[in-house]
């Protein structure tokens, strides 16, 4: 199952590394990454494959959210389908 991870927050060193480590720890494979910094605001969007994920989707979501909260980042994971439904015919 493919999902989109979005990370939004104030830019600093090591955000990508930390998020990737967290995903790797759950056996979540990163398929694509795009990242920009706008007015010091860091925005990263990752397309990931959760097929081999060792946790349930909601556990993964909670884990990412908590990790984000402790670092002042907004991290969320949502199934790709919702974006496809809303933006593609």
């Amino acid at each position: 199952m493919r999902a989109i991870v979005t990370v939004i927050g104030k830019d600093r060193v090591g955000i990508i590394a930390e998020v990737c480590a967290l995903l790797a720890g759950h056996q979540v494979n990163v398929l694509d990454i795009s990242q920009t910094v706008l007015q010091e605001y860091f925005t990263m969007i990752m397309l990931v494959d959760t097929a081999a994920c060792t946790a349930s989707f909601t556990e993964l979501r909670d884990c990412l959210r908590q990790a984000g909260e402790s670092q002042g980042l907004d991290i969320r994971v949502q199934r790709e389908d919702i974006f496809n439904a809303m933006h593609r015919i």
């Binding site: 989109i4 795009s34 969007i45 397309l47 909601t58 919702i82 974006f83 439904a85 809303m86 933006h87």
Partner: protein
């Protein structure tokens, strides 16, 4: 891969513009729960609802978690109880409402609807008993919703039922006076009620429906409002296009959730209801959309035209996004549940008469409006009759959900809390309509009902 802006757009809609799925409603037929013994009938009703909807809340929450889209309500609608209870040898239908409430509590859903009767042409003894039980049922249950259909384009308006509903509303308010007449917030009087409506308080599961069905109601006034802010001053063609595009996206999201819920629960997908359902939260208001089109305050001249455009564009945008559209599908204008409507009503610009005009061009009707506590039953009935006439002649659903707030008058505000919001008491005309209501009988169906 979908592009970054689209992803961030969706996240902004959810985070800042209150995009949500308003309700996933499971319709459950109770026709197989009829029993001559009322206790056994109630037992069967409880069992079937609990068995059918045991996983509804859990499934809704799982979908929320995976898609990251809030599903605000999980609800149940059932066969109009008058049709089920009619088989039981009892005069008292309150226990049926209590059985519904117990099943509601057990399944953990937010509301259960269907304590209903369809009496547009005439009343059976069961219909009469159900209507008589409504005030007590609404006072003694927590989250059971009742509705009565008093008219249709095909049948005309049953004025005996209209007269009775005025008294039922008064009685319901009196029995829940300690909560501002809260019981009335759970009671809808319809003309042309639909059988697949997922929204409360008027939801029931029609007899032509399958045994069980999943209906989804979307929302999104905040998203539409935000989209219109980007086209300030543009001609109405542009406004309509913008609303259509937004409604399309919102509905696609609702369709996805509906299909997913249907698949996981093993219950057929019914319809997506394309409604703009506001909440009392700032930024989630239908009134503010109308104001965004260039009106200083909702309720001023131009409001009806603005609402007509909005309602139509929402449907046109949504209809292609869903495989099956139904329910009420249109913009809702519940006064107490819409921050902008509340403000407009408090300022005196938005009046009951203007709201009535607005209901000609949108779904659904005079909704969640508090009127003075001393409003007579006849006046309430006459308001119902007016609204039903609009529905009957225009072949559309109209509804009345009025709260004659006990002990309150114009200038007061009734607080319901939560999604039901707060209702400023609005003035009604004081001139009597008692003789009009006392006539009874039936207002015949309009000429254009004879289509065959």
């Amino acid at each position: 891969m979908i592009n970054s802006n689209e992803i961030l757009d969706t996240i902004r809609m959810i985070d800042q513009q209150h995009l949500d799925v308003r309700t996933v409603t499971m319709g459950i037929s109770l026709l197989d729960c009829c029993d001559a013994d009322p206790q056994r009938a109630c037992g069967k009703i409880y069992d079937k609802i609990v068995r059918s909807a045991r996983d509804l809340v859990k499934t809704g929450e799982a979908i929320e978690g995976e898609f990251g889209i809030p599903i605000v309500n999980k609800r149940i609608s059932v066969t109009p109880i008058a049709l089920v209870a009619g088989a039981s040898e009892t005069e008292d239908y309150v226990p049926f409402a209590k059985a519904l409430d117990a099943a509601r509590a057990e399944t953990g859903v937010n509301f259960i609807g269907g304590f209903s009767a369809l009496v547009q042409k005439g009343m059976t003894p069961a219909d009469e008993r159900l209507i008589a039980a409504i005030p007590q049922a609404l006072a003694e249950t927590e989250l059971v919703c009742a509705s009565v259909n008093v008219g249709s384009t095909k049948a005309g308006i049953n004025m005996d039922a209209v007269a009775r509903m005025g008294r039922v509303i008064k009685d319901t308010a009196a029995r829940t006076a300690d909560r501002g007449g809260f019981g009335c917030a759970k009671l809808v009087v319809f003309c042309n009620a639909v059988e697949d409506n997922p929204f409360m308080a008027g939801a029931f599961h029609g007899v032509s429906e399958a045994d069980r069905v999943i209906n989804v109601g979307v929302s999104g006034p905040g998203v539409v409002h935000h989209a219109l802010q980007a086209v300030k001053g543009a001609p109405f063609d542009v406004v309509a296009e913008t609303v259509k595009k937004t409604a399309f996206r919102v509905t696609r999201m609702g369709q996805l959730v509906a299909q997913e819920a249907s698949r996981r629960l093993g219950v057929p997908f019914g319809i997506v209801d394309l409604s703009l359902a506001p909440t009392p939260a700032v930024g989630d208001s239908v009134a503010r959309i109308l104001e965004e089109m260039g009106l200083e305050t909702c309720g001023t001249h131009g409001t009806t035209a603005a609402l007509a455009l909005l309602n139509d564009a929402v449907k046109k945008g949504g209809v292609m996004a869903s495989s099956s559209v139904g329910g009420l599908s249109g913009a809702f204008i519940p006064v107490s549940e819409d921050e902008g409507m509340i403000a407009a009503a408090k300022s005196g610009v938005l009046t009951l008469d203007k709201l009535e005009a607005m209901t000609c061009v949108c779904s659904v009707g005079l909704d969640m409006i508090a009127v003075p506590g001393d409003t007579s039953a006849e006046t309430l009935s006459a308001i119902i009759a007016d609204e039903a006439a609009i529905g009957m002649v225009n072949t559309k659903t109209t509804a009345v959900r009025l709260i004659p707030a006990p002990g309150m008058d114009v200038g007061d505000t009734v607080e319901f809390g939560g999604l039901l919001g707060s209702a400023p008491v609005m003035p009604v005309h004081r001139e009597s309509c008692a003789e009009f209501i006392a006539r009874g009988g039936r207002i015949p169906a309009p000429m254009h009902s004879l289509k065959n």
